[in-house]
């Protein structure tokens, strides 16, 4: 077939990139080879726009066993236990086909985790939709939530936490970010790097079909009015097969038959075979006649580019084939020896006794073009004049408005569709500051949270990047965990635009600074660019998945108020920063202004103090203060604890609305029993930590002295109203 500019363009390859390909091959590629280049050189697989900046992220600390570059990151949690975790986006497919797009997003991230030998113990997700008034939103939300549920529920992995947000900027580009966490013995970790010559290359799992062809390329381009036509590029998931694949892989991993293993995710057979061989500095030869196919007459091009789900590629120690085959046979899965490792440093594909592709592996790995894209600094947003009329705005009305707004509503409509208690170790369920899952049959627990702050990042990407890492850290602290490391999913628009690239560069800078300061490194992640439609991009949305350890679950903390007549303090300084707050956005309809400053020193100092107080058993509840400020945090503690609060405003020259709704960072609300009051205040003073007494817990209502009193039943009703009403349920 003649290589025409149209054909090359259709593969998402730029003319200058095509010239490089010709130079690397010293000839024109054939169609199959062009497809393979397209799969490996697209943004999604190659990170060609982001690599330069990703390298600047801190990726190590004493606990990190495996940083970025493998199927997932790994951290040490003591006693020969390690946690394997990663987050990944499935944004583009989920917009085109919400159910399957979201379902296979979960399937893919679970495979990344069990590929490394870990049994998945939890999933989380961050999902962003357009305005609730957008006619597409209801269907997308419904589809995504059922898709996530259907896959995870069937796999029997608890879905323990997440976030659901709405904003106009996602009207034509929703975000579906899924995170999985697995548990592995430190001496039983499996990697993807191939080793040894003439070792058998094995294909296991589902058969290859014609679904998902060029999925990764789709995720590397903007949408337009023809996006609907991309439906065939969305994969179709089969969680049942994946459950079998999980059990079969873990069974085979019990001994040392496997040299290396990699799941077939984006760009399927192509990327898995190329990455394994390239990492091992070997060659790989595949006989495509041996690839199990779902349909008749599949061509090499289709086999290599299909993104059919639930497939794995293994390199076995030769001689172990029969034993491995038996296990996959027991689980009713395909098992086929499709090739071998070689010393050619080439990817060679044979089909019907003919060589159909021959590509040096470096051309698909180290020689992938890296771009140093132009970028511009994000202009700082101007502070508009503060609203002076807030004194006529009733505090109670403002609180009510925020509690019934979609972004601040209680999300049980979502997480009740996810099995969050299977595996019998979910200690802190969805709805808390962080989810907590017990390490099976031990006293320690894993704390996990997933967070994003697109508004902050849009207004100031550096500060926003810092803030979202801090929020993740704070959420882990709030449940009594020791924060260890993060995984990040960087959702941005088109990086070929200088402004977007600027948002990316600056966000990474912010993330990097906070990770460095808090000793909270990035161990895995994913970049999703081109979240754009008709030239309009999303707000920069870096999503952070944080993981920490609670050494003894008896020291776990929750946000629910526990008993009446306890003292309530705010820890950390309140200055009343209301720009970019829920209060300004939802109640005052003001969208300009900078996000709250992030002071990393205070963040760390305050957080470590809270952690210490929890360990000393001096606190009865802790909640981090984030969106909605002190007021919303109080309401949430009341609602979840079914205990009220009586608040006397501290003497302050800050306007009351700003004090209660400001979103200053590094703050926590704590509940302290009378008997510990002195010890807590002494401790905070000794550590030079700013704190103020807010009031006391009480029965039945949330009261701000001289302002308002709302019954708990009304607060709860307000907070759960929106989702029920949106889906017209009783």
């Amino acid at each position: 077939m003649k290589m025409t500019p149209e054909l090359i363009n259709k593969h998402g390859i730029k003319p200058e990139e095509y010239n490089t390909i010709k130079k690397l091959l010293k000839r024109e590629p054939n169609l199959l080879e062009l497809g393979i280049f397209s799969a490996m050189w697209n943004e999604h697989c190659s990170y060609k726009s982001s690599k330069k900046y990703l390298k600047t992220l801190p990726t190590k600390n004493k606990k990190v066993i495996q940083g970025p570059g493998e199927n997932a990151g790994i951290i040490d949690i003591g006693d020969n236990d390690a946690l394997v975790f990663k987050i990944e986006s499935h944004n583009h497919p989920s917009f085109i086909e919400p159910f399957q797009g979201a379902a296979t997003g979960v399937g893919g991230i679970l495979r990344d985790v069990f590929t490394m030998g870990a049994r998945p113990i939890a999933t989380l997700n961050s999902i962003h939709f357009g305005s609730h008034n957008n006619p597409k939103t209801k269907n997308l939300l419904n589809g995504v939530v059922s898709g996530i549920g259907s896959y995870g529920n069937c796999m029997g992995v608890p879905n323990v936490g997440g976030e659901v947000k709405f904003n106009d900027c996602y009207n034509e580009n929703i975000l579906v970010n899924a995170m999985a966490v697995g548990l592995v013995k430190k001496n039983k970790i499996f990697f993807s790097k191939a080793q040894g010559l003439n070792q058998p290359v094995i294909y296991v799992g589902s058969k290859t079909g014609r679904d998902g062809i060029h999925g990764a390329s789709m995720a590397s381009a903007e949408f337009d009015e023809n996006s609907e036509e991309k439906k065939p590029t969305v994969q179709v998931g089969d969680p049942f097969t994946e459950k079998l694949l999980l059990e079969a892989c873990l069974e085979l991993m019990e001994d040392d038959s496997i040299i290396s293993i990699q799941d077939m995710g984006a760009a399927g057979l192509t990327s898995s075979s190329v990455e394994m061989a390239a990492k091992g500095n070997l060659g790989i030869e595949i006989n495509l006649d041996q690839v199990p196919c779902r349909e008749d007459k599949m061509e090499p091009y289709e086999m290599m580019l299909s993104e059919s789900q639930e497939r794995m590629l293994l390199i076995l120690k030769s001689g172990k084939e029969e034993k491995a085959n038996k296990i996959f046979d027991k689980w009713n899965l395909d098992f086929s020896i499709i090739g071998k490792t070689t010393n050619t440093k080439k990817l060679i594909l044979n089909f019907k006794n003919e060589e159909v592709a021959n590509i040096p592996l470096t051309a698909l790995s180290s020689d992938v073009p890296i771009y140093d894209r132009k970028w511009v600094k994000t202009a700082s947003t101007k502070k508009v004049k503060k609203m002076e009329n807030t004194k006529y705005l009733r505090l109670s009305e403002a609180l009510k408005k925020i509690l019934v707004s979609p972004n601040n509503s209680e999300k049980s409509w979502v997480w009740e569709q996810y099995d969050h208690t299977v595996m019998g170790d979910t200690i802190q369920k969805p709805g808390g500051d962080a989810a907590v899952v017990r390490v099976h049959q031990q006293k320690k627990g894993v704390a996990m949270t997933i967070d994003s702050s697109a508004h902050y990042c849009f207004a100031d990407p550096t500060t926003g990047g810092k803030q979202v890492v801090c929020e993740s850290w704070r959420n882990l602290i709030s449940v009594g965990a020791n924060p260890i490391a993060i995984t990040n999913c960087l959702n941005f628009g088109n990086p070929e635009k200088e402004k977007i690239m600027g948002q990316f560069v600056e966000s990474i800078d912010g993330i990097s600074q906070a990770c460095q300061y808090l000793d909270f490194p990035v161990v895995s992640g994913n970049v999703s660019f081109y979240n754009e439609t008709h030239n309009k991009g999303i707000m920069p949305t870096p999503t952070i998945g944080g993981v920490g350890l609670i050494e003894d679950l008896n020291n776990m903390m929750t946000k629910s108020f526990k008993e009446i007549n306890n003292y309530i303090y705010v820890v950390g300084k309140t200055s009343g920063h209301v720009y970019q707050s829920e209060f300004y956005r939802v109640v005052m309809n003001i969208k300009n202004g900078p996000p709250p400053d992030v002071n990393l020193f205070n963040e760390k100092n305050n957080g470590l103090a809270i952690k210490e107080l929890i360990l000393k058993k001096l606190l009865t509840s802790v909640h981090d203060i984030s969106s909605g400020g002190i007021m919303v945090a109080l309401a949430e503690m009341c609602i979840s604890g079914k205990i009220g609060a009586n608040i006397q405003m501290p003497k302050s020259n800050i306007n009351m609305h700003e004090y209660l709704f400001g979103e200053d960072q590094s703050r926590y609300l704590i509940e302290v029993n009378k008997k510990n009051k002195k010890e807590v205040s002494d401790f905070l003073e000794k550590n030079s930590i700013f704190y103020e007494l807010l009031g006391k817990t009480q029965n039945d209502s949330l009261k701000i002295e001289k302002e308002f009193e709302i019954k708990l039943s009304e607060l709860t009703q307000l907070n759960t109203f929106w989702f029920k009403n949106y889906f017209k349920e009783n």
């Binding site: 259907s150 529920n153 069937c154 029997g156 459950k243 569709q417 099995d419 208690t421 595996m423 679950l553």
Partner: protein
Amino acid sequence: MKSAVIVFPGSNCDRDVAIALKKFKFENQMVWHNDLTLPKTDLVVLPGGFSYGDYLRCGCIASKSKIMSDVIQHSKRGGLVLGICNGFQVLIETGLLPGILLRNKKLKFLAKNVFLKILNLNNKFTSSYKKKKIITLPIAHNEGNYFANDNILKNLEDKNLIPFKYCDKNGNIKKEFNPNGSSNNIAGILNSEKNILGMMPHPERLIDPLLSGEDGSILFESLIGI
């Protein structure tokens, strides 16, 4: 006391229930669905999960597994059989229990804690609930909406074969406290001989104070005879 947990392809609460059984000192064995005979056992547990991916109909393909003929024999001999969630669906599909399990009323998967009222203490599974008759257990299912014709329902009610009904925290059994739309708020049923129990809620998930409750423990205590 000996127990056997059947593992079907797609079972995913098999480990959880095995751990619960061990905690209450059962000598437990896992049994693969393709085996032809059960080991010597007093209790057979069909665990929750998505056997065969819930394809065709929940529990349908599993009900035709090789091991099931021996499970049926075991039950005919008076041996105890407990089906939880997907296990309940399998029991219905084998015909060991009457009725059917439809999709939930709201057509959505539902995972939450529910209140249950214990209505029969006179059987091997629930006798220890005499100390606590209103309990909390988690449900997690898409097809738990129990449905049967009037004759079957009347028989179940008349013979007191419904040990669990959905209720509120005070034990009021009303439609509004029914999470999935099941007939008569049914959450679990016994066969006439009361040696087979099928239930949608998961007792194996609440056996530990850290898991916010131990109401599930009482079922295992009943079985082991504490």
